[in-house]
């Protein structure tokens, strides 16, 4: 998965315009990355990429770049 595809995926998941996020965007700056958003992220990673993370691992994802790195690792 390219960086652009990963950013698109994250933007779509959190209902953001892709131009409004970057790898450095912290989770606090994404309104939809709340408790429901965290569950949605877990479900998306699980269902689309077979990446299963526990809640501690999800808590370590602090910005968009952390999610993109995860997706790039899954795609390789």
């Amino acid at each position: 998965m390219t960086k652009e595809e990963a950013l698109d995926w994250v933007a779509n998941l959190f209902e953001e315009e892709v131009v409004d996020i970057s790898l450095d965007t912290p989770r606090e700056d994404i309104p939809a990355w709340d408790s429901l958003g965290t569950l949605t992220l877990m479900a998306g990673l699980d269902e689309e990429f077979s990446i299963q993370l526990n809640e501690d691992q999800i808590a370590d994802l602090r910005n968009v770049g952390d999610v993109v790195a995860l997706l790039n690792g899954a795609g390789s």
Binding site: L39, T40, M42, A43, D46, E47
Partner: protein
């Protein structure tokens, strides 16, 4: 209006699938407003029926994770009207079932025709948040019989 929208469970494989039914009588209050001269069951109630059935399917596993609660309606479609005095059959199939969340594909049918469908997303609330004597009687009645 009470809010138990599943009358009884017909079939159940805990954590996997459920068939259940609900009878909607013509005396339901909401028909007075929804709508005069054209009484139909609101789509939100059909969605809640599906959520309650799927929730029972998940709760039947008796995990320590808690009670299944609807967290997101990923999609919902309403294909036909459901009128008074309808026997509604609800089907839910659990697609993803994890410690923190679950998803289910659900349908409701009347006289063999699918009238609504939804993809639902659930989270879990610890049992301690509910009244100590709370029992899902519809689920318990089914489990007691099997």
């Amino acid at each position: 209006m009470r809010f138990i929208l599943v009358d009884r469970i017909l079939e159940l494989v805990p954590g996997q699938r459920i068939f259940a039914e609900k009878y909607i009588s013509a005396q339901q209050d909401f028909f007075q407003d929804h709508f005069p001269g054209f009484p139909v069951v609101p789509g939100v109630l059909l969605t809640e029926m599906m959520a309650q059935a799927a929730g029972k399917c998940l709760d039947a596993e008796k995990h320590s994770r808690g009670k299944a609660m609807l967290a997101q309606i990923r999609s919902a479609s309403f294909r036909d009207w459901v009128g008074p005095d309808s026997r509604i059959v609800i089907k839910a199939t659990v697609k993803t079932n994890r410690a923190a969340f679950a998803t289910a594909d659900c349908e409701v049918a009347v006289e063999g025709r699918t009238v609504a469908s939804a993809e639902l997303f659930f989270t879990f609330v610890p049992a301690g948040r509910f009244a100590p004597d709370y029992v899902d009687q519809v689920l318990q009645d089914f489990l007691d019989k099997t």
